[in-house]
Symmetry: C2
Subunit: 236 residues, 2 copies
């Protein structure tokens, strides 16, 4: 805790930390069902879809398959989940619904917080989303990034070291000059082990209701309730 004067860049996890993926994907699936006259438990499908995310990335991370973008992984997962929820998605449906992950609503403070931080440090995304998804998402949300780091730049997903250290290298900074801001303990743990600074951003509504995942599991350098809150701590 305390002053962290050496931080020159803050890199951000995006899904959950800056955007409400659950509320946005649920709204998009519900609207899709309404238009098509299809009934399903869209909230449960949202959670199952997100739940398929980590195993799919882990298969890439373990080298069991080539690197593939989240669009590909999201598409495969949706097709696989359809029958369990009593819905069959056409190829066009899958393309349309995979696009929901390019248009997720920001948490109310995210845009202002990034702008505030940008006055004092480099602000960049460090997401498992690929560049195209993140460019679309940043335009949709209004994130004023100095740089977007996508998984396809590295050919790796977090928590692989290549992602965190690659971002530091591209920024020309030592790991100790870079802070990861994330709502997830596992992401921060990987970053800390590589020498990055850490900021835990509480997002109690990520999964719809506060639970243990929204609480810090370690003594992160900062624990904050919002991105402007992080700016207030960091830019002294």
């Amino acid at each position: 805790m305390g002053a962290v004067p050496a931080v020159k860049a803050v890199v951000f996890d995006v899904f959950g930390t800056l955007v409400d993926w659950r509320g946005s994907v649920f709204a998009g699936l519900s609207a899709f069902g309404e238009r098509r006259g299809m009934a399903a438990d869209w909230l449960a499908l949202t959670d199952a879809w997100r739940g398929a995310y980590k195993p799919a990335m882990d298969a890439v991370r373990r080298g069991e398959r080539e690197f593939a973008s989240l669009d590909v992984l999201h598409g495969e997962a949706l097709v696989a989940l359809g029958p369990r929820f009593g819905v069959a998605f056409s190829e066009a449906d899958v393309v349309e619904l995979v696009g929901l992950w390019h248009r997720l609503a920001p948490w109310p403070d995210s845009v202002a917080g990034i702008l505030a931080l940008k006055r004092g440090v480099v602000v960049a995304s460090l997401s498992n989303g690929h560049v195209a998804l993140q460019v679309n998402l940043a335009k949709f949300c209004g994130f004023a990034w100095d740089m977007i780091f996508g998984s396809d730049i590295f050919g790796h997903f977090k928590p692989d070291a290549e992602v965190y250290l690659g971002a530091c290298r591209f920024l020309g900074l030592a790991p100790g000059e870079v802070m990861l801001a994330a709502a997830h303990n596992d992401d921060l743990l990987a970053a800390r082990r590589l020498g990055l600074r850490t900021a835990f951003v509480r997002r109690p509504m990520e999964y719809g209701a506060p639970d243990a995942r929204a609480e810090p599991a370690e003594d992160w350098d900062f624990v904050v309730d919002s991105v402007p809150g992080l700016a207030g701590r960091l830019l002294i």
Copy 2:
């Protein structure tokens, strides 16, 4: 010529197209000389320094050396050029002066033009500068990029195909949906051969006075006098 409705992204050359590298580096070298009480033909050194740029990159492009960032290439060139201009640069001098290329003044219309284009298309840099240089330059100038593509992302310099096609791939776009905006015919020629659209931006003062290099050598899709001029043509 005429409407180019399919363009979804404009990628920009930076040195010369968006920033006045010659005026800025000359001003920086002159100020350095003043502070140190060192006299030299700083303008000639500026031109010689820039002149060393293409041969240095070409050595990388031909595989004669590993990829190295412009900071490295700029530093080596400055050390090599010193004696010819009667000046010896210390290591600290070199680090300081190489940093001039991270703080180049934009042409007066560049910032507004990027903002105008950003309302209708994706705007990204596509420069031989590396990510760190370009992040610094964008912050210094106020370029509101949606994405920065640096040579270190590709491990290649323009006019290698990997750079142009890599940017298209990261954006998830076909080459025909991407337009390169540049003040240089050779850059545009490489892009056109790969299927990208082309916009020639006249920058008659890049080399200090109008010359033939500032005129279009081909029938580029657009020929404009400014970045807002490109926005006016593209966003109909």
